[in-house]
Amino acid sequence: MAQVHPLAPFAGQFFGGAQVLDVAASNLFALVDALDKLGPGFGEDAVLRAAFAVNGMMQTDWSAPLAPDAQVMVFPRVAGG
């Protein structure tokens, strides 16, 4: 199970303030689907606003394989200039 750490605003908005969620997922597409079931609406929001870091590295390729023990951070996406 991947350990997901949703940060603000996602933790409060979708997951009741949970700091850690255990999710079985083979990649970030599957992980977002699973998180959407836990927090309805997260999937749509994630496409627009979420950034993911997997094991300490930013990951924008949602198709990349996710290790069973992956540590996944979820935080707001930011745009540069």
Binding site: H5, L7, A8, P9, G12, Q13, V47, L48, R49, A53, G56, M57, M58, Q59, T60, D61, A64, M73, F75, P76, R77, V78, A79, G80, G81
Partner: protein, 760 residues
């Protein structure tokens, strides 16, 4: 410049990377042949003009365009009624997202105007003079509404609300009433309040900075042509042709395949050209008139209607141990984002402490709206505003504890493996190396004169990767044509050519680079986020590697050997076995026979570049303050930056110098000023005072090259970091020069003089 001038002493591992060849677009630009936004001409083109609101907040009761339409030479008049009425819908825009209805209404107001300069109508006519005359004939009946310009005004109970459907996001409960606070966002860890209570030394303060414009030389401009069959062409100067295509298609309900955007040369962007303002309007004018239409902003339009960076007010408290270890930080900041929700609050909060290890911290950001132009990115968006108070407080702590300002930063600096405020361990970052380099620089130990002070500040920005496409084609003579979809803002044509030449092991002059239109190459995210040399460069390198593989395979067939018996070296395929062992075929020799083998030699790579790393910088600033006037002169300035591998050091140093100059302007001179009626008081370069060459010393640069292991040549982004430290560096230098701290930017002579008088 501190960078060595020849590759032998600088980058012995590479032949081309790290050298300083002439830029391939240089001659065209210095001879005036390059085509920028206002240079493009289409056959039968009309000239457009936009009528802008004189009110900062008003309801549009009616618009009467009859007099304008009756003027000879006028071919079309459009208002918000000519635009689709869009639902409030968020669309993905690469790194971030945006509300397409708000973006559309920012291009052309529908029911309300939200700031002085908001577009309310547009005209296309046979000449620019007629278009301007016609625009002045349009009669708009406004119901003027009360407006808000400052954070206090915007958040006051009973304040006029810009968007009646906007409720603050990010709060535990949805508020009962709409307000001008678009977002509240908090990040943190540990027990900051307790840590500060137990700290040996505590400093606090309220800091502010005004909204500032990116100040690009070239105003926004475009030409649009809507054909009778519904296909559209747009020629525009921007940071992203694909961004224009996406937004115009979404706003106007046109298939992306029906819009072809050709990028023209760009005279500066700095984040400010990551949005559309004119392009959808020009398309609608062209559709209505049946002819191509050019729209261009005046300088006043640029200031009034295109996004500045948001201003900020920040309250901060920092606690430290006696040895200078920062034990706790609490900061609450409010970004003044203008007429629509901004993008700087998240990044400001996440960047504020990203260059330090702070065990206990809480950073809360608010996105606050007011009746000024909707803000846009400006280099590292959000970071200068939030790192400025942090760097000032660290300087104060150093002074209180009698510590060297670089030593205290070294003590607290984020290093590889350290877990940051967002819970991520840092990769191969070079902040500590930058601090060490700054400390070793002769500038840092040079004596100061009377009324002078020296300031230090650090800073960081996260950078980005993302999607890019590149193609590489071989000419029949073996020359190399690289094509990308990334507008060249800071010399990326040269960087792409150099990375291609390095990969192919050929001369730089053998490679030419073209920036293609959106129908001629696959998608590339805009040039921004310090991503192009990293991400598009990676696509170019991989495409070149595919070319090498193809050339080896073709040569192997010619030699009747297995490809494993070939070797790529020095821009040629070498035969390792068989009758031809010891011979070689150049790219030109193989390309000349391409028609006898597998056909043209080409490769295309489309990727989503991963592995980007943040950049870090440390700036040293000397200022001299005139005790009689309060005028601040920057007498010496040095930029030290972790740049990864510098592909073309001139352009890296140019980014460092340019960002520093812009940050110095933010600190000393610049700021949006409004009158009581809510109209911008300084919409021109005479009154909006950006630094010019005579205001600044030669800015010295030190490139700290700590390569990014996730890039073939070690590239990190460099364009955004250098605007982050100057606000703190200048403020700290002035503080040390006059013996007291001025918390509010810009540090104009009147403000500094008043502070000095207060002291005496």
């Amino acid at each position: 410049m501190n960078a060595p001038q020849d590759k032998a002493s600088f980058k012995p591992a590479y032949d081309v990377v790290g050298t300083r060849p002439v830029r391939p677009d240089g001659v065209e630009k210095v001879t005036g042949k390059a085509i920028y936004g206002t240079d493009h001409v289409a056959a039968g083109m009309l000239h457009g003009a936009i009528l802008r609101s004189p009110h900062p907040h008003a309801r549009i009761r009616s618009i009467d365009t009859r007099k304008a339409e009756a003027l000879p030479g006028v071919k079309a008049v459009v208002t918000g009624a000519d635009f689709p009425s869009l639902a409030s819908l968020e669309v993905s825009l690469g790194e971030g997202s945006g509300n397409i209805a708000a973006i559309s209404r920012n291009c052309m107001a529908h029911e309300k105007v939200l700031y002085d300069g908001h577009a309310v109508a547009a005209v296309a006519a046979t000449s620019a003079v007629i278009a301007e005359e016609a625009a002045a004939l349009i009669e708009v009946e406004y119901e003027v509404l009360p407006h808000v310009l400052t954070i206090d005004e915007a958040l006051a109970p009973g304040a006029p609300v810009l968007h009646e459907d906007m409720f603050t996001k990010g709060l535990p409960e949805k508020p009962a009433e709409p307000s001008n606070a678009a977002l509240c966002f908090t990040v943190g860890r540990g027990e900051p309040d307790a840590a500060i209570a137990a700290a040996h030394t505590v400093v606090s303060g309220r800091y502010s900075a005004l909204a500032v414009h990116q100040g690009y030389i070239e105003p926004h401009a475009c030409v649009a042509s809507y054909n009778a069959d519904g296909q559209v062409q747009v020629w525009a100067s921007s940071q992203g042709a694909f961004m224009i295509r996406t937004l115009c298609a979404s706003i106007l309900g046109i298939s992306q395949a029906d819009i072809r955007v050709t990028p023209l040369e760009i005279g500066g962007g700095f984040g400010g050209k990551t949005k559309v303002y004119l392009e959808p309007v020009a398309i609608v004018l062209s559709r209505k008139s049946g002819r191509p239409v050019r729209l261009a902003m005046s300088r006043a339009d640029v200031f009034r209607a295109s996004g500045p960076a948001p201003g900020v007010v920040a309250d901060i408290t920092v606690g430290a141990d006696a040895d200078g270890t920062i034990t706790g930080v609490v900061m609450e900041f409010k970004m003044l984002s203008g007429a629509n929700p901004g993008n700087d609050t998240h990044s400001g909060a996440m960047s504020a402490l990203a260059h330090y290890n702070v065990a206990n911290c809480r950073v809360t950001g608010w996105d606050v709206l007011c009746n000024t132009a909707a803000t846009a990115a400006y280099r590292a968006p959000g970071a200068p505003q939030t790192i400025f108070p942090v760097e000032c407080c660290i300087d104060e702590i150093a002074q209180k504890l009698g510590l060297d300002p670089i030593d205290i930063r070294l003590k607290n600096a984020a290093r590889p493996g350290d877990v940051g405020i967002m819970g991520m361990p840092a990769g191969e970052i070079g902040y500590a190396e930058c601090l060490e380099a700054a400390k070793a620089h002769p500038h840092y130990s040079a004596p100061l004169g009377p009324n002078q002070g020296r300031g230090i500040a650090g800073g960081t920005w996260g950078n980005y990767g993302g999607p890019s496409t590149a193609t590489v084609n071989l000419g029949e003579d073996g020359s190399v044509l690289v094509t990308t979809g990334s507008p060249d803002i800071g010399g990326s044509r040269a960087a792409m050519a150099m990375m291609a030449a390095e990969t192919l092991e050929i001369a730089y002059e053998q490679v030419r680079v073209t920036i293609a239109d959106t129908s001629s190459i696959g998608f590339s995210m805009l040039t921004g986020g310090s991503r192009t040399t990293f991400a598009t460069g990676k696509a170019v390198i991989l495409a070149c590697e595919e070319i090498i593989a193809t050339l080896r395979a073709r040569a192997a067939v010619m030699w009747s050997i297995d490809v494993s018996q070939t070797e790529w070296r020095g821009g040629a395929v070498h035969c390792l076995s068989g009758d031809k062992a010891g011979t070689s075929l150049t790219m030109g020799q193989i390309a000349a026979k391409a028609g006898f083998s597998g056909g043209p030699i080409a490769a295309e790579v489309a990727l989503n570049a991963q592995g980007f790393l943040p950049g870090f910088g440390v700036h040293i600033c000397d200022t001299e303050v005139d005790p009689e006037t309060g005028h601040v002169s920057v007498t010496r300035y040095t930029v030290v930056q972790d740049v990864g591998t510098a592909i073309h050091p001139d352009y890296v140093e140019g980014q460092m110098q340019g960002g520093a100059a812009q940050g110095i302007g933010w600190a000393l001179n610049e700021g949006y000023v409004y009158d009581k009626a809510g109209r911008m008081d300084n919409p021109g370069f005479l009154d909006y005072r950006m630094p010019v060459c005579s205001d600044l010393p030669m800015i010295d640069t030190v490139m700290v090259e700590k390569p990014n292991p996730a890039h073939p040549f070690g590239v990190k982004g460099v364009g955004e970091v250098p605007i982050v430290p100057p606000l703190g560096a200048v403020a700290n230098a002035v503080s040390r020069a006059i013996g007291l701290r001025v918390h509010d930017l810009p540090l104009t002579p009147d403000r500094v003089y008043a502070a000095m008088q207060g002291k005496s």
